[in-house]
Symmetry: C2
Subunit: 207 residues, 2 copies
DNA sequence: TGAAAAATGCTAATTAATTCACAAATATAG
DNA sequence: CTATATTTGTGAATTAATTAGCATTTTTCA
């Protein structure tokens, strides 16, 4: 399989989401041009993205929706049964834990860690065990490679501990700066930055 | 001012965040090479990005931290005093409303809309007025250009109504598909996709 | 069954983004 | 005050990503 570029990789989840929706709507077969309109990405880009995984379509026919879904689902890790942990069960952390479209979309959040586990565990909406952050080394699930970081401070120390434990990917919701240890990957989800970016763009439109 | 590329635009909030942190740490002056190490972006990319705004630095000296902060803050809309609205005051919506690093970082959330405003308003953590979604046309603040969408369904209809009201930018937290009306911009914040992407990358590392 | 129409997948061309390399400007040390 | 060491800002070169164009394969319809 050819090297898949960062840009292409970002689009795969978009395709999967769209295909699921189309499937729900009863669509069995889809053309790259239809999908293009749906997700607002040029059809030729879509075909090239797909071709990096394999020959997924048929000439003169298009793509089979459910086949594509199962291929992308597999590629994107739904079958890896990834074990995720979440650190910091505040409001945002709880919102993520409760996210309902969650199951088997990208593995499963197995447990969470917080400074006040008693308090968090008593909340009815928290549906996984919450351990004290001091127990991280002890309670982290075997083979856990991805952690979701929702703490307001102290990120660096946590990241270093996670690194020692073999965690390779961080989904970062903190706005704190930290140095990423060698060999780790992170992905920032920053609402404030997203809005700033949008404000800038909207104001550029106005000029 | 030269056309600012999408890629550069995404980095501006990163710079601003880093500069604020450096300023807090007492730094008055910074080199592109120092900042490069801090944010893990090549120094030459940083200088190029900066140069699109103007000649912000001094040769042989570097950049004045506070000056940079005020320039970026202005560029990124902190002084525009952007009026934002939020639609869908569920768990995630509440988390966003309560985000404390919020004020004057990207305008201000002025009010929110929900299907059950009475219930939301009674929650102590919700600190802006919540109106019924039916009152959108009536209560939307004058000059509002950006809306944060946190509803689980019915996005298309809301987006179309917002478009009619002159809203130009959507920060989209829904996973629903909708067609973006001509002239609008959106920015997706999709936790599930982010994790999927990361799972894919981590699993690529393992091979 | 055979010819026309349709749609993929791939190569080549184009466009966008990053990085190099160095001239010009400033700071600093003697 | 002068010489040297720094560091920015920017054309030019490179690398990455997107898009166009078309050969090939499959479907469809007479």
């Amino acid at each position: 399989m050819a090297e898949i570029s960062k840009a292409t990789l970002k689009r795969y989840p978009v395709y999967l989401k769209a295909l699921r929706k189309l499937s729900e709507e009863g669509k069995k077969r889809v053309l790259s041009s239809e999908l293009a309109e749906y997700v607002d990405i040029k059809s030729t880009t879509i075909r090239r993205d797909f071709s990096l995984i394999g020959q997924l379509g048929k000439q003169g026919y298009g793509y089979d929706v459910n086949e594509l879904i199962s291929i992308f689902a597999k590629e994107l890790g739904e079958d890896y049964d990834e074990k995720l942990i979440l650190i910091g069960v505040g409001r945002l952390g709880t919102a993520i834990l409760n996210y309902n479209n969650w199951n088997h979309v990208a593995g499963e959040i197995v447990c969470a860690f917080d400074l006040k586990p008693e308090k968090r565990n008593s909340e009815p909406k928290v549906n996984v065990p919450v351990y004290h952050i001091d127990e991280l080394e002890e309670k982290i699930p075997e083979g856990c490679e991805i952690a979701i970081l929702c703490i307001p401070s102290g990120a660096q120390q946590i990241v270093d501990r996670l690194h020692k434990l073999g965690v390779k990917g961080i989904v970062n919701f903190t706005r704190e700066h930290f140095v990423l240890p060698e060999g780790m990957i992170k992905s920032d989800v920053d609402v404030v930055s997203t809005i700033q970016e949008l404000v800038f763009e909207v104001n550029s439109l106005n000029k």
